[in-house]
């Protein structure tokens, strides 16, 4: 009985979380401009999205491209910078370690509006014209702490002598890094990358303040502008459904592969 109640509660929360997504998916198969009014089954929105005929879907796809590009670049840089930083922090001691850890926490505690406004002021102050570069720098600044926090536990679990052993056996520091450190840190690096990537994809406020006036749109800023104009571009519903499906398929593939390797290990 207890178990049943617990399970029901989890399903109830999940139903709440998924209701809006399911609604979007259902109404991606009808042409009406407003979400919520059904005007008959149609796959026109999907066709529009890819035909690129309409001007709106053209800029929508450009926004998707920008979002992905910014997320991939910033998460990759975050992963490299954060891993190197984590190795450094791991080897720091006492006050210095505390100070750098504190520094690392600031972007995570800062609400995104503050991060956005402060970076906006920085770029104004330094006379850096805002665009792709400033958005990517901003995303690196809030993504890297997640990489650092993902890699640090892996360093703690690692035997500190392995790296020294590699050096003693004649490896150059670069070789020791590539062949000994990185393979052991990889799980932490990957989860840090995924976190940084997710934060970048979902970010609205920081991008909003650092993108300047060159007309750079990511998915978030596009949706914001769209909603303010009144009414979302209907093609967005098709796009969101597709994104959701892609994520779902990716997750299933990852899970199946994990289950397989687990079985093999047994």
């Amino acid at each position: 009985m207890k178990k049943f109640l617990a399970q029901t509660y989890i399903w109830f929360l999940l139903a709440l979380l998924y209701a809006p997504l399911i609604l979007i998916a259902i109404f991606s198969f009808t042409e009406s401009r407003v979400l919520g009014s059904w005007t008959g089954f149609s796959t026109q929105l999907y066709a529009n999205l890819f035909s690129g005929k309409m001007q709106e879907s053209g800029s929508l796809l450009a926004a998707v491209e920008n979002t992905l590009l910014i997320a991939v670049i910033s998460a990759t840089v975050s992963m490299v910078l954060g891993t190197i930083a984590a190795i450094g922090i791991h080897n720091l001691q006492g006050r210095k370690k505390q100070a750098v850890s504190f520094l690392n926490n600031i972007p995570m505690i800062n609400p995104d509006v503050i991060t956005g406004v402060s970076l906006f002021l920085l770029f104004v102050f330094l006379h850096i014209s805002q665009g792709y570069l400033t958005v990517i720098l901003a995303h690196i600044s809030f993504g890297t702490p997640y990489v650092v926090l993902s890699v640090l536990p892996k360093l703690r679990q690692m035997n500190p002598n392995v790296y020294e052993a590699a050096l003693d056996l004649g490896a150059t520091p670069g070789q020791a890094l590539r062949k000994v450190l990185v393979p052991q840190l990889r799980p932490g690096m990957v989860s840090g990358f995924i976190l940084a990537f997710t934060m970048s994809l979902d970010d609205f406020a920081v991008t909003f303040f650092t993108r300047g006036t060159i007309g750079l749109e990511t998915l978030s800023t596009y949706i914001y502008a769209d909603a303010r104009k009144g009414g979302l571009t209907p093609e967005l519903r098709a796009l969101m459904t597709l994104i959701f499906l892609i994520i779902l398929i990716l997750l299933i593939i990852i899970n199946v592969r994990q289950a397989k390797t687990q079985k093999n290990n047994e």
Binding site: Q7, Y9, I10, L13, L17, P20, L21, L23, I24, L35, G36, G82, I84, A85, I87, G88, I89, N91, L92, Q93, K96, V100, S101, L103, N105, I106, M108, I109, N110, P111, V113, I114, T115, V117, S118, L119, L121, L122, V124, F125, A138, I140, S141, T144, V148, L149, T198, L201, D202, A205, I223, Y224, A227, L232, M240, I243, F244, I247, L248, N255
Partner: protein, 254 residues
């Protein structure tokens, strides 16, 4: 080269892109348009009834949102942590997956559901949407702490005669506080500073503090905008001081 030096590039990067920007917020907050020192921006906030009202509403919504997230999220995290391993992974993924769909899009869809079933947009719908957006951020850190909890503590309490209820309140809850703290950090301040989401969920009827900051910055009132941001920074400082065990709280996130 010592390996501790490897942190230097990151420290330099953070000094430029995190510390300097925050210092600039303070500098701009205490300057007038022509760069002279002034307290006007700060005093203006305390005499601006609009801004003060928004500030009060934001704190209220944030406190309510945080409490509801704890009330709903803690049991969920506890149930998840006590599930057997295989099913646990799937359920966790189910909770995280919606976060990969754009938050603005999800919020708009939530607002649309309210429109469909005829509930007028206002304070109630705002709170619902906030809980909806932030609940996973409360569940995840609490879950992370609960999963790593050393079972032998619970067994020891049981062996010493504590009822299950007592074990929960006297052992599980205190040991999971770092998770709750980091959940509060992830929910409270972000709620205060939200913009866009509050506009969508209330049809522009209720503004939160983030919206005021954004409006000022966007209409080139940088100094006043910076002053408002500065006031928020002070509150963040205070809330993080309350969460004494900060390092544990941050590590509960991952």
């Amino acid at each position: 080269m010592k390996r501790s030096h490897w942190s230097i590039p990151y420290v330099v990067f953070m000094a430029i892109f995190v510390v300097l920007p925050l210092l600039l917020v303070m500098v701009y907050a205490f300057q007038d348009g022509s760069g002279h020192f002034t307290l006007d921006n700060i005093t203006r906030f305390f005499t601006d009834s609009d801004a003060l009202g928004t500030f009060a509403v934001s704190l209220e919504v944030a406190i309510e949102n945080t409490l509801i997230c704890i009330l709903l999220g803690y049991p969920a995290a506890w149930i998840l942590a006590n599930k057997d391993l295989n099913r646990r992974a799937v359920t966790i993924i189910l909770f995280i997956m919606p976060m990969w769909i754009n938050a603005l899009m999800r919020t708009l869809a939530t607002a649309e559901i309210f429109n469909m079933i005829g509930i007028p947009l206002g304070k109630g719908t705002l709170l619902f949407g906030m809980v909806y957006d932030y609940l996973p951020f409360m569940i995840y850190p609490i879950y992370n702490v609960l999963v790593k909890l050393d079972r032998s503590y619970l067994e020891a309490a049981q062996d010493l005669g504590a009822t299950p209820w007592k074990v929960f309140w006297k052992v599980t809850v205190p040991l999971s506080m770092p998770g709750v703290t980091s959940g509060v950090l992830m929910v409270f301040m972000p709620t205060v500073s939200t913009f866009a989401i509050s506009e969508f969920l209330t049809n522009n009827k209720i503004k939160l503090f983030g919206t005021i900051i954004q409006e000022n910055i966007n209409s080139s009132m940088w100094n006043y905008g910076a002053a408002l941001a500065f006031i928020m920074l002070i509150i963040i400082g205070i809330t993080t001081m309350f969460s004494d065990d900060n390092e544990n709280a941050e590590e509960a996130l991952i």
